[in-house]
């Protein structure tokens, strides 16, 4: 839907501007700026990075609303919301239909009320006579000591919101205030804190608008309207990930494809690594070369031969229309050949895509050093009066753009691997090749930048980003 809208806006941009009346302009809740941003970037996604306190506030707001709508304690409201994945509308709808059933489904009330189980004041778990037996809605009653031990065992096993009643076959879950009050009575402050941390994590992971940043030791929580496969950049720990599946951002591939691909890589990559290794020989003089960054245009230091790192072909054949070697030419006779040959062909196909995927991954890793290098380069140039600091800032931007494009390119390979043969795949691989060649051209220029190459580089930056967006816009599944 959005894709189509964007295209239309592009074509009729002028018209759209003329048509919008002043009234529309002022009444539109989204200012025009956001619209144009959306047009530019199909990957744009609105999200907020929240601190723990802010998340607590957000959850509490839902709890408060729930308490008002269906007259329950905050603790029960929390349990209910958690069991309904914080879907207040669904809870309200079910409440209107059958309030009793809602409490049963929400695991607050039991489906069948327990008979008076206990004789006098004996706790059936520890078989001791006690003054008071405690319990919740289901009327299963046990002593404070047993409840506390039960909670301790569960919490130490990492269970929090799912702690159940001790009664046999009882479906009721223990509300937060009951657990906390027992732990407080028994002076279990450490356990209590652990319980609160666990429940909080559990609430966040069940909330459709929230996701923990997957960055190591990062405590940030991301909030967005819906779990879409969109790009999130954590400002705290600089991790980039997908809001739907929480692993590395993967456009244009979707969550399932990338999951499949990563599993496949984990299985096969050792072999692939072994086969492709880290070095290649110069196709002319056979000297062994290790590539430690930069673009795919290689110039052999020994014999001066120009060649492409990916296909080891002559570089002169690559410069013009498109970057030939990103196309995998499938053998049309594959179906007729033996099983063994097919297996080899399948491995070859996988290795083709894997090598390119790993190559970009590798380049991306090197890109971090590259950014530092660029900064150093700029500093040197400025100190030697070769332009001002401002003059060179475009190089930083170019480096950042290069990183983004390589990132997208990396994820085009798993996408293409799982694509069926046909016109659409051809179009995809054409656009991919276009992007590859633009990226290589830019990478080459950045390495050799001089003061008057700014215009040229900025031109190439524009081309590269346009090609990236064309590809993403056409193939990104939302």
């Amino acid at each position: 839907m959005e894709e189509r809208k964007i295209k239309k806006m592009d074509d009729n941009e002028m018209e759209e501007c003329d048509m919008g009346s002043d009234e529309d302009y002022y009444n539109d809740p989204d200012p025009d700026v956001t619209h144009t941003d959306n047009d530019k970037d199909p990957e744009s996604f609105e999200y907020k990075i929240l601190e723990v306190v802010e998340v607590e506030m957000l959850l509490n707001t839902s709890v408060e609303t729930m308490c008002k709508t269906i007259d329950v304690s905050p603790s029960l409201a929390k349990l209910l919301l958690h069991n309904y994945s914080w879907n207040t509308q669904k809870i309200e709808a079910e409440y209107r239909q059958n309030p009793e059933q809602l409490l049963i489904n929400g695991k607050i009330k039991p489906s069948k009320i327990a008979k008076g189980v206990s004789r006098k004041n004996e706790c059936i778990v520890c078989a001791q006579e006690v003054d008071t037996l405690l319990g919740v809605e289901c009327r299963h009653r046990f002593c404070e000591t047993c409840w506390c031990q039960h909670f301790e065992v569960q919490i130490l096993n990492g269970v929090s919101t799912a702690i159940g009643c001790m009664g046999t076959d009882c479906t009721v879950l223990m509300p937060e205030d009951f657990v906390l009050s027992i732990l407080r009575c028994r002076n279990q402050s450490k356990l209590s804190q652990q319980y609160q941390e666990l429940t909080f994590r559990s609430y966040v992971s069940n909330h459709p608008e929230l996701l923990y940043c997957p960055g190591p030791n990062c405590t940030a929580v991301i909030q967005a309207k819906a779990k879409e496969a969109k790009r999130v950049d954590c400002k705290k720990c600089k991790t980039t990930f997908c809001f739907k599946c929480g692993i590395d951002y993967h456009a244009p591939a979707d969550c399932d494809t990338i999951k499949k691909w990563l599993i496949k890589c984990a299985d096969d990559s050792e072999t692939a690594n072994y086969i492709s290794a880290h070095t290649k020989d110069c196709p002319k003089c056979q000297v062994c070369i290790e590539k430690d960054g930069g673009c795919n245009h290689m110039k052999c230091k020994k014999c001066g031969h120009d060649f492409c790192w990916m296909c080891l072909g002559d570089w002169s054949a690559h410069g013009s229309e498109y970057y030939e070697c990103s196309k995998y030419k499938e053998n049309p006779n594959i179906a007729n050949e033996s099983e063994h040959a097919q297996a080899r062909e399948a491995l070859k196909k996988y290795l083709f895509y894997f090598e390119r995927w790993a190559n970009h991954d590798n380049s991306l890793r090197k890109e971090k050093d590259k950014m530092k290098e660029i900064a150093k380069q700029i500093e040197e140039k400025v100190t030697t009066k070769d332009g001002t600091w401002i003059d060179w800032q475009y190089l930083n931007k170019a480096g950042e753009l290069l990183r983004r494009c390589r990132y997208t390119l990396q994820y085009t390979y798993p996408y293409a691997y799982y694509m069926l043969k046909g016109a659409r795949k051809e179009l995809f691989e054409y656009q991919q090749a276009q992007l590859e060649s633009a990226v290589e051209a830019l990478s080459y220029d950045i390495e050799r930048a001089v003061l008057d190459s700014r215009g040229d580089i900025e031109n190439k930056m524009d081309v590269v980003e346009k090609r990236r967006l064309t590809l993403v816009r056409e193939f990104l599944v939302t």
């Binding site: 001791q128 299963h140 031990q149 065992v153 009882c170």
Partner: protein, 152 residues
């Protein structure tokens, strides 16, 4: 939980000795009151009929907040019991409730012998055989009962 044996375990043991479950004998070890030597008779009209099966039952430190650990010591051909004698039974895992007892656990194990459940297998080969050729599986189970679970 430190110190002597919890009252709950003492009471359960006393009751097991005073009113034993028909077909089941559970005796605590002389040196360890948390370790029980169990003998279960193969239920009538099951492939295990006529056999006596030795089991071990251990009450962990957290008992009754955690389930007892039970294992068959006698070799048995059953889809829910593996080579090492480990048992696939819901109340020994996620369905455990502190209100359950040693007695209820042993009754459930006896019931499992009467009604093997090949749809929730622990021992895949046995379960497969049970599904594909039930008559053959029952014959094997009877044979194993004779070979490994008959005294003398």
């Amino acid at each position: 939980m430190a110190g002597g044996l919890p009252r709950r375990i003492i009471k359960e043991t006393q009751r097991l000795m005073a009113e034993p479950v028909p077909g089941i004998k559970a005796v605590p070890d002389e040196g360890n009151a948390r370790y029980f030597h169990v003998i279960v008779e193969g239920p009538a009209e099951s492939p295990f009929e006529g056999g006596t099966f030795k089991l071990e039952l251990f009450l962990p430190e957290e008992y009754p907040m955690s389930a007892p650990k039970v294992r068959f010591m006698t070799k048995i051909y059953h889809p829910n019991i593996d080579k090492l004698g480990r048992i696939c039974l819901d109340i020994l895992k996620d369905k455990w409730s502190p209100a359950l007892q040693i007695r209820t656990v042993l009754l459930s194990i006896q019931a499992l012998l009467s009604a093997p459940n090949p749809d929730d297998p622990l021992e895949n080969d046995v379960a497969e055989q049970w599904k594909v050729n039930e008559a053959q599986a029952i014959a094997t189970a009877k044979q194993w009962t004779k070979m490994y679970a008959t005294r003398g």
